[in-house]
Symmetry: C2
Amino acid sequence: MSQAIDFYFDFSSPYGYLASEKIDDLAARHGRKVKWRPILLGVVFRQTGGAPLTSIPLKGAYSLHDFARSARFLDVPYEHPKRFPLSTQHAARAYYWLHDQDCAAARMFAHAVFRSLYTEGRDVSDMAVVLDIAAGQQVERSALAAALAGEVLKDRLKAECEAAIARGVFGSPYIVVDGEPFFGADRLPQIERWLASGGF
Amino acid sequence: MSQAIDFYFDFSSPYGYLASEKIDDLAARHGRKVKWRPILLGVVFRQTGGAPLTSIPLKGAYSLHDFARSARFLDVPYEHPKRFPLSTQHAARAYYWLHDQDCAAARMFAHAVFRSLYTEGRDVSDMAVVLDIAAGQQVERSALAAALAGEVLKDRLKAECEAAIARGVFGSPYIVVDGEPFFGADRLPQIERWLASGGF
């Protein structure tokens, strides 16, 4: 059995969302599974000096335009959220909590978070919204709320972010195929060729 | 006659080089010409707070890897130069001087600069190397040397950089098709579809 592909992303990353709509099908075409690993870009940027794209002079305005155009190019629905960028620790922690119980449910939840943010403009930085999204996926709201209030999940996400940085992750999406790193939704065609050819 | 495509780049930009090997053929497939416009990223970065990719923690190491892999993906020869990043004002000024006399000669010279840097590792920050490259393209060395020593060309390049920034250019390559901006060699497929469909 081939190794799973690692898919690192922040729920607040538009290019992460675009990749999330493509990566599983792409991997499946080559008999691969994908491990989804939400991280917090804020933590990463403290190491790299990075900043949210939309805050960068000139590049910010372009990025807003490119998010929407790249979505059309990839045939993915997209509406830029009014609240952006936004913090995503509750969503990321909820993902890992769910994942430890039911991997498939966590995947559905992650899709729901991304789509809530990028097609409905819901404020997923709000814990109540995260709980609503999870409840919509048949997750027991009170159990998740209790977990999100505790320290265990906070430590878990912190450890995930640290492990990602130690591996070289500096942005979202960051996808690792058999040790080969690819940064950006625009590397999907390279990933496709890499999987088809075993490297190039 | 359709409007020319504007191709902004810095000669020190590996992704600018990759785009330079593709953009003319891509444009020609859709009956378009390309205007090449070398700029200095150093001037742009003073406005945007940007930095050379290879100087950024984590992203730097990835970028070196991605330059070479993206070149293989696009089937373009590439060897990362020992001296990098490097200043390219002499090459950019020589380009505009040539361009005002002979557009086709300027295009050949620009290709020669990029290929000298990215396939032979020549130090194109050195004025003597720029003069050698130009001489190899049947340019009169002493006339170019005199022009490079004067103020007119310095002001010309400065004005080109300022005009580019005023237009929103924040990196290399930055390509404008009928007012639509595309940043990065990885946007070539979007440009191709844009030209084929008149937008999407």
